[in-house]
């Protein structure tokens, strides 16, 4: 093998490497990175004509049942150790800061209701959300600002991040446990049900009022 051609300069000049080779490339790149990488990130570093998505699919199958697994994190992929081997790893564990109950509940509300405004979080919890709680979750990079809600005051919304998905081993927010059951039970509507608790103004119930 005579060193890889500088393919950037001559796209299409060389045929794409065989799939087995593409799989090796994806394997090497993902192994080298502690952070999840998107298929597009991988493809950008591979020769032209490669199919990173297909290589990822092959690779995921290869690592099924291994001590290390290929997992999807949002739009990205990463190698992670198999959870059943956690007991061997405890020496590597870095103690994460203990989260307050308010922070944990707020996180769950953002994950299950996203995009969600602060007022909606407060309506669900029945108490004000302290600045520190939101800050802590933002600092952990578990939640981030989403789009502003198109209601009067254009309040900011919060959504969970890929890092959240990565931390909790979720391929996407659709994989949140019990999501469908909660939705079917009508428990994922952040609007305050009916006229209960008239003391706090309905956070996003207003949406409907202002849409045609």
């Amino acid at each position: 093998m005579t060193g890889p051609p500088t393919t950037e300069d001559a796209p299409g000049l060389f045929p794409a490497p065989p799939m087995a080779e593409q799989e090796r490339m994806v394997e090497a790149m993902l192994f080298a990175s502690a952070e999840p990488l998107r298929a597009a990130d991988l493809a950008a570093r591979m020769p032209p004509g490669c199919d990173a998505a297909e290589a990822l699919a092959h690779l995921a199958r290869r690592y099924e049942g291994r001590g290390v697994r290929l997992v999807r994190v949002g739009e990205a992929w990463a190698f992670r150790t198999a959870p059943d081997l956690a007991h061997l790893m405890h020496r590597e564990a870095v103690e994460t800061r203990k989260l307050s109950r308010a922070a944990i509940e707020t996180l769950a509300i953002v994950a299950y209701h996203q995009p969600v405004t602060r007022a909606e979080i407060e309506a669900i919890r029945g108490v004000a959300v302290s600045r520190g709680t939101i800050d802590q979750l933002l600092e952990l990079d578990w939640i981030r600002l989403g789009r502003r809600r198109q209601t009067p005051g254009r309040p900011v919304t919060f959504v969970v991040t890929d890092r959240f998905l990565d931390h909790f081993g979720l391929a996407s927010t659709r994989d949140l446990p019990g999501l469908r059951e909660l939705r079917e039970a009508g428990l994922l509507d952040p609007r305050p049900p009916g006229a209960a608790a008239e003391e706090d103004e309905p956070p996003s119930g207003q949406t409907d009022l202002f849409e045609d």
Partner: protein
């Protein structure tokens, strides 16, 4: 996760410990759970009575209750009266049953989020149960530098150069100036070599041929010649106005 909630939920009556609750909704949820039934089938009427009893006891013990607890108490007292009275014929307010159902749903939703939070925290978590590559390999970045400059930078740079010139203390640019001192030195050196009349041009320094330089050299040499003539070491002659100027060394004395 909800273990750090109320200290004693046993029986129908709670010890009054307002500190343990995160607001009236949290208190209501704890009371509702003490009914030991599915949250969907709780008796909101009983719940309202429990809450009002709790608040009454707290006040009996002169515990300062936050305003939101009292607002909730007022609302529940209203709900209770509505639930006990026959339906409002005028139909101005929503039916009491709907209000009760909405409250029950709110409590159920809060409980659902608490359960979800607990389930979330119990998952296999990165850095605790599942691990990333411990020794990630650095991607080396070959940095290609793209230099940028805008027109405004260019103009500023030029302006800066010119401005600096303006600020420079004014000094005659001596590169093209032949000084009288230089001319004197040159003429003195030439006195011994030239014996007879020679036109001024001959006395000029070599290399001062461009118009500006020639002009400067001619002026300096002529001025130097006048000085040497004053000292009696040189004779100057000119046959007519604007005619050629001739110089001749004079012996001392």
């Amino acid at each position: 996760m909800a273990e750090d909630g109320p200290p004693a939920a046993g029986g129908d009556r709670l010890l009054v410990d307002i500190e343990g609750f995160e607001g009236p909704l949290d208190l209501l949820l704890t009371l509702a759970r003490s009914q030991k039934v599915d949250l969907r089938r709780i008796s909101v009427l009983a719940l309202a009575e429990q809450y009002l009893a709790f608040v009454a006891e707290a006040r009996g013990l002169r515990i300062e209750l936050a305003a939101d607890y009292l607002v909730m108490a007022a609302w529940l007292a209203y709900l209770k009266s509505r639930l006990l009275l026959p339906p409002d014929q005028a139909g101005e307010a929503p039916p009491a049953e709907d209000m009760a159902a909405a409250l029950a749903l709110r409590l159920e939703r809060l409980q659902a989020m608490r359960d979800a939070a607990a389930a979330l925290m119990a998952r296999d978590r990165l850095g605790r149960d599942v691990f990333a590559r411990g020794a990630p390999e650095e991607i080396t970045h070959a940095v290609r530098i793209d230099y940028t400059a805008g027109l405004i930078d260019l103009l500023r740079a030029y302006a800066r150069i010119r401005t600096r010139d303006e600020f420079r203390p004014w000094a005659f640019d001596r590169r093209d100036v032949y000084t009288m001192e230089e001319a004197l030195d040159r003429l003195r050196g030439m006195l011994g070599d030239i014996a007879d009349w020679a036109p001024l041009e001959v006395w000029l320094p070599p290399g001062w041929s461009t118009p500006a330089r020639r002009r400067s050299a001619t002026a300096a040499t002529f001025a130097a010649a006048l000085e040497l003539a004053r000292q009696g070491r040189l004779a100057i002659r000119q046959a007519e106005p604007f005619g050629p100027v001739g110089l001749r060394p004079k012996g001392p004395g």
